[in-house]
């Protein structure tokens, strides 16, 4: 009966799936970003923690899938999965001490619910009826959302470009994830920081690709291969932080300006215009030059300056969309019912206006890397030796057309990292395009 649902199977399965996805994401982020709290958790073994999280996450997703689809599977397999899940999650606090106990408790809630489930429905795993009824009912309720998702997936499958884009992006994500495997750190010259490219020797002249250095070395004898692989990490990191930061700031400003209008709109839009009036690259250069002497780390300064240059675009975009949606009948109807401003914005305006912003976000993830590369090329990017594609290219400046007798002898110094950057940006562009085709309501239907 509607409204009187016990803790249903689907509900648990959804919870399990959400928690597992969170775990996987945390695991991946740990890989990409590194230790987020180096002071609080100095001994955190990022690699191990990340692997464990991703592993349990995947286990959890399997479990959720079985529960969701209502397939009664062997009680042995069910119990086995639950036990494995539990053991692994208990291992975590054991490995990392007090700081992780809070996290473990959070996970154990999930575990407790699973236990409740297995206890209260042991009979159903042997083929009982009541749980199946519940599943059926819940499936009916989920039907419209599932239909929407299926339609979306079908659109995704239809467009081959989107698959290519997604494949490219995934490829880079895996490259970033498995960087320690593909290009093992641990070289003395790195000084303990895996993000510095190994450079054994002081040779100033780039060396062509050979057995020891698959992509060759550049000026200063930095290994290009290492730099390209680990460069994926810094690219993703810069992309996510900068695009995310611009998105958040732009959203706040754009929403305030569009929803309240009047003088707030004027003031905020003029502020936006002021920032937009500066040529982007030059403004970011100026900001970096100002920030670095005050003690901000180089890479952080790059990211902050790019965020400051980037937010006006989002602000304008969301403002335009909100202005369009603001006057729709359903927004007015929501107000007439008595919805507060916050609710109107959150439930009605944002879900209908956010899609172009999300699409620009994915596109930006690619272009920001280009901007960072440009800054590196100009010498204002990451510090010398940092594994960053732009850094590699900047170091290859002098070698692009070095020897008149043998021009492009040192092609590997800029073409290889250049290919990495181009394909990265291409992947995000294709993905962004595909997202637009899929999510734009006017293009979706037929």
């Amino acid at each position: 009966m509607v409204g009187e649902r016990p803790l249903g199977l689907t509900f648990l399965a959804t919870l399990e799936a959400i928690l597992s996805v969170i775990e996987i994401n945390i695991g991946i982020l740990l890989f990409v970003i590194g230790n987020p709290l180096p002071n609080a958790l100095p001994g955190l073994n990022v690699g191990l923690t990340g692997t464990v999280l991703v592993g349990t996450g995947i286990l959890g997703l399997f479990l959720a899938y079985y529960l969701w689809s209502g397939q009664a599977f062997g009680w042995l397999a069910a119990t086995g999965l639950v036990v494995a899940d539990a053991i692994v999650r208990i291992l975590l606090p054991a490995m990392f001490g007090a700081a992780w106990i809070a996290y473990a408790i959070f996970l154990e809630l999930d575990l407790a619910m699973l236990y409740y489930l297995t206890r209260s429905s042991t009979t159903t795993f042997f083929g009982g009826e009541s749980v199946r009824e519940v599943i059926e009912k819940e499936r009916i309720e989920m039907q419209p959302r599932i239909k929407e998702i299926k339609f979306t997936l079908k659109l995704v499958r239809k467009s081959s470009l989107s698959i290519i884009g997604a494949a490219i992006v995934l490829f880079y994500v895996f490259m970033a994830l498995f960087a320690p495997v593909l290009a093992p750190p641990g070289d003395v010259s790195q000084g303990g920081d895996s993000m510095v490219m190994p450079h054994q020797g002081m040779s100033l002249i780039p060396v062509a690709p050979n057995a020891q250095h698959p992509f060759g070395t550049m000026q200063g004898q930095y290994d290009i291969y290492y730099g390209c692989i680990w460069g994926a990490r810094s690219a993703l990191r810069i992309g996510i932080y900068v695009a995310g930061g611009s998105l958040v700031i732009g959203l706040v400003i754009g929403i305030l300006a569009a929803y309240y209008g009047g003088w707030m709109d004027e003031v905020l839009m003029r502020l936006t215009d002021v920032v937009l009036a500066f040529p982007g690259l030059i403004l970011s250069m100026a900001l970096i030059v100002v920030l670095v002497p005050t003690g901000v780390a180089r890479l952080d300064a790059v990211m902050i300056s790019l965020v400051i240059v980037g937010w006006p675009g989002y602000a304008r975009l969301i403002r335009g969309e909100i202005l369009r949606v603001k006057n729709e009948d359903y927004v007015e109807a929501a107000k007439s019912v008595g919805c507060s401003d916050l609710r109107v914005i959150g439930s009605h305006i944002l879900p209908n206006s956010i899609y172009p912003v999300l699409i620009v976000f994915t596109l930006d993830l690619g272009t920001i890397v280009l901007a960072a590369a440009a800054l590196s090329f100009l010498g204002l990017g990451s510090t010398l030796g940092y594994a960053d594609w732009g850094q590699i290219i900047s170091l290859s400046q002098n070698w692009i057309y070095a020897n008149p007798a043998a021009p492009f002898a040192y092609w590997f110094t800029f073409i290889i990292p250049g290919i990495f950057i181009s394909i990265f940006v291409l992947g995000w562009n294709l993905l962004g395009d595909a997202l637009r085709d899929i999510l734009d309501p006017t293009l979706r239907r037929k």
Binding site: F151, K154, R445, K446
Partner: protein, 397 residues
Amino acid sequence: MTGNVFLRIEDLDLRFYTYEGVVEALDRVRLQIKDGETIGVVGETGCGKSVTGFSELNLIPPPGKIEGGKIFLQKNDQWINLLRQRDAYLRTVRGKDISMIFQDPKSALNPVYTVRQQISEAILHHRMEDLCLKLLEDSKNATESLKQGNLSEHEKTKLRKAVLSKRERRMLERMIDDPQRLIVRIASRIPVLNRFKHRFNAEVTKEVVRMLKDMRIPDPDRVAEMYPHELSGGMAQRVVVAMALSCNPKLLIADEPTTNLDVTVQLQILTLIKDLKTKYGMTIQYITHDMGVVAEMCDRVAVMYAGNVVELAEVLEVFKNPLHPYTKALLECIPRPGTQLKSIEGFVPSLISPPKGCRFNDRCPYAMEKCVREKPEFVSPKKGHQVLCHLYAGESQ
């Protein structure tokens, strides 16, 4: 205005191939349009009345596809199947033989062009030759009159304006031959040489203003230079009608032209259309869902339901003696004060998997067992009155 049939739609089948399935939008649609009449196509949303109009111009956008049937147009004593013609040929038909006006006048007009530019476009597409010839004719006449002398100074100045120089005449002749000729195009861009083009454009503008005046638009010179957003709904619709009539088409298809307009403006537009019809000798196919408008404007009526033409008869017959159950029910739905409001039970069937038999059978109070199984055929129980229903099977005259 002979009253003879000049457009025949036979067994038209139209399907839309969508994600959700194949929509059978039109099923064996049959219609004949007689010269000089106003035929109304009446029905509710989704019955297919608009797409029937679009089919006549072969303007169905994908994913729609005409799957069967013929549309015959009588041109120069020959019957041509419009569905089998190439686009190039159809472009000579659209606007010239058959013209269409739409529901929302504001969206039928391009917002970045003035009224004059848009109407000129329609005129130039079909009547360039006529106008050039007219200019040449005027010039010849003016020269003749001037030669004769004994005219006032005032008249002489007027006539001199109409005279074209030899060079200008040559250019206009070239334009008649082939407007895309290189020399014509170059000359129209060079300052002194393009005087003929100026003359031509002035003539076109005169035509435009004349049309606007015909549409009873006040101050037509000023309106010609306005942009669509500066016009009110009624004015915009008149401009659209002007565009449609600029080449004097034989058939005007009007797709709910007054639905979005106020009722007093609607009266103005309907009166205008009626007067224009007599003046230009047009035939009108009037698509609407408003039975009141049908009663006012139309001589014959075709009632459509779910992709079929279910009844086709003279307007008096349809109102006083409706045969098809749907027509009867529709007429009963018209609100009458004092009586309880009636509606038709049920919903229009989904056209993605339409019922096998008669499409109205689930809502029909007279439905028989046959209606569920078999599709009905057209019968003519009375002369000039066709109906698609099993109730009258075998009563053909």
